[in-house]
């Protein structure tokens, strides 16, 4: 930074320009992001149906959470969701990216096939998988009957024991291509001379993948981990369409429960409380990840 002719007016003018560039985003942001958060925090202290005047209850709604078995279920389900979507999506996505980073025939078609589920609406994905898993007309049942694999012929979405896991499988189908795309992008940044050097040193393929490629993709793993945790906590549409959180709240996630409390049970105060807790969990887990790993993977500064 060795500007010679930096005078105060030019600095001020640049700040003004910078502010003008930021202004539209800033306004929208305050209106639809900052204000709703403040609003939620405030509403979470009220016993409120969303229409009439609310009654101040302090932390009463928060105390209620601990006695709410459905809230505990949502936490447990979020835990399963985080664990069982992030790991399979990363492993399959990484494997697909390794194969599809090679110049093989039909590469673009393969990439498109694996990524397309991610661009579909959860409404579409939900309804299609409902039909696939339908215990009477579904593809799984029919394949099960034809092959004698009886375990396929169960109504997974209707069984409280399995509903959440069925939804997780659907989520993996939907988002694995997204992980693949991230890994493909990460692989682009690996210097091919490093791989050539490993080959000359006689490193086996497995060793190259394990000791060079996998560790060098650290920023990608971390981005996917962060997006996976947040995405899991945010899951609403897919579960809403597949099971509506049922049967009997067995597959309830935090957002579906918030929605039910706010718009079906008219318990806006309590719904806001769940929202605040959800937001806190999301913020704390992202911040601790940023603390632990540095923020470079998020901002791209590490590259």
């Amino acid at each position: 930074m060795t500007y010679v002719k930096i005078d105060k007016t030019s600095v001020r003018r640049e700040r003004l320009a910078g502010t003008m560039f930021l202004l539209p985003a800033f306004l929208l942001f305050v209106l639809f992001v900052v204000y709703p958060i403040v609003y939620n925090v405030q509403a979470s202290t009220l016993d409120w149906d969303g229409v009439n005047q609310g009654v101040f209850t302090g932390l009463g709604n928060y105390a209620r959470l601990f006695d709410d078995p459905i809230f505990i279920t949502t936490l447990k389900n979020s835990g399963w969701w985080i664990l069982l979507t992030i790991i399979p999506q990363a492993l399959i996505g990484f494997f697909l990216a390794l194969l599809l980073n090679e110049k093989i025939r039909g590469r673009a078609i393969y990439r498109a096939i694996f990524f397309v589920p991610a661009v579909l609406s959860p409404v579409v994905v939900g309804i299609v998988w409902q039909r696939m898993l339908d215990p009477f007309n579904g593809v799984f049942v029919k394949v099960g009957q034809a092959t004698g694999l009886d375990f396929l012929a169960r109504g997974y979405l209707a069984d409280p024991e399995t509903a959440i896991f069925a939804a997780i499988v659907v989520n993996v189908w939907m988002w694995t291509g997204f992980s693949m795309l991230f890994y493909l992008a990460g692989l682009q940044l690996i210097d091919s001379s490093v791989l050539a050097a490993a080959k000359i040193d006689g490193a086996s393929t497995w060793r190259t993948v394990r000791s060079i490629i996998w560790p060098m993709l650290r920023p990608t793993h971390l981005s996917l981990l962060l997006l996976g945790v947040i995405g899991s906590l945010k899951t609403f549409e897919l579960v809403y369409v597949l099971t509506e959180g049922g049967p009997n709240h067995a597959s309830e996630m935090l957002p579906t429960y918030t929605f039910k409390q706010a718009f079906q049970l008219q318990s806006v105060g309590y719904a806001s409380t769940i929202s605040v807790v959800l937001l806190l969990i999301a913020v704390v887990s992202s911040l601790s990840m940023v603390r632990a790993f540095g923020s470079g993977f998020l901002t791209g500064d590490a590259k």
Binding site: R15, L91, F114, V116, P117, L120, S121, I127, W206, T258
Partner: protein, 296 residues
């Protein structure tokens, strides 16, 4: 989980193939990778094949073949049906009226913000960036009540403009982060040279940075397209009139009607998916580069 384990153990074979590339005939090398990829791709396509298959199921004959994936007697009747008996064109137009403006606004505002954060002196850069990441993790469902109230007080309840504004606001964080990374890759000398030639900040942004960041903008466009076109929570809560509803609300709104006409339901699902898949295919080749922050 099973597949995940299998796939990782299979991984080593790939670069070995590459290493022995010269010594092996071309066809053999290709066959190995396809032997893994083709079955996986086929498995991945089953639900998609089923939507298309079921959309051809006539109401008069609900018999299916191929494990319930295809109708025994396929017909295009459902497409005619949804087009003539329901005001589906109106819903399609609504979806477009929500999506297109929000994509354009997110690209414009997002890239402006990214430019300020990457290349201009602005106060509180770190705070702005922190706030943006906070918004990235903000679940729509947790702000939907508040947004509903805000839109109501702005007179934008039951109005498509309200949806456009909310989607734009929520899409900004991702847009800023992706575009900023790409802007940082533009050599700063370009900027200085243009400034010396008397170009304004806006000209530099519009004429140099934007065109160079096409891959990043493509990523943002696809992402924003997906999230505005596919969302149904916000319209579910903020739109009342049937003639304002976007396509995604149709399957749930007419659930009862579709119960007796599963074929028509799946035809609607195809209609919802088609535009977004076309957009994706059109920009697919930019996506990998755009995500890795490369500039063109």
């Amino acid at each position: 989980m099973k597949t995940a384990e299998e796939t990782t153990t299979a991984a080593p074979a790939v670069p070995t193939q590459a290493a022995t590339r010269a010594s092996q005939p071309l066809r053999r090398r290709l066959r190995w990778e396809h032997a893994v990829l083709a079955p996986m791709a086929a498995l991945w396509l089953i639900p998609i094949a089923m939507v298309i298959g079921m959309s051809l199921l006539p109401t008069s004959n609900p018999k299916t073949t191929a494990f319930g994936m295809f109708p025994a007697e396929p017909s295009l009747g459902n497409y005619v049906e949804i087009w003539t008996n329901n005001p589906i064109l109106r819903n399609l137009i609504n979806s477009a009226l929500i999506t297109v403006p929000s994509v354009l606004l997110v690209m414009l505002f997002g890239s402006m913000t990214a430019f300020a954060l990457a290349r201009l002196r602005v106060p509180l850069k770190a705070v702005i960036f922190g706030a943006l990441t906070l918004a990235l993790i903000l679940p729509m469902s947790s702000i939907v009540v508040a947004v509903f109230k805000i839109l109501q007080s702005m007179g934008l309840y039951n109005n498509l403009v309200g949806l456009v504004l909310v989607y734009t606001a929520l899409g900004l964080p991702f847009a800023v982060i992706i575009i900023r990374t790409s802007f940082l890759a533009v050599p700063e000398e370009l900027h200085e040279a243009a400034s010396l030639d008397g170009a304004s900040k806006f000209t530099v942004y519009w004429r140099i940075y934007l065109p160079l960041s096409r891959p990043a903008l493509a990523v943002v466009a696809v992402w924003q397209c997906m999230s505005s076109w596919n969302d149904f929570l916000l319209p579910l809560v903020t739109l009342q009139d049937n003639e304002l509803k976007p396509l995604t609300l149709i399957p749930l709104a007419y659930r009862g009607v579709f119960l007796s006409q599963p074929g028509a339901l799946f035809a609607v699902l195809v209609l919802i998916s088609l535009p977004i898949v076309v957009v994706f295919l059109a920009v697919q080749r930019y996506l990998v580069n755009g995500l890795s922050g490369a500039i063109k």
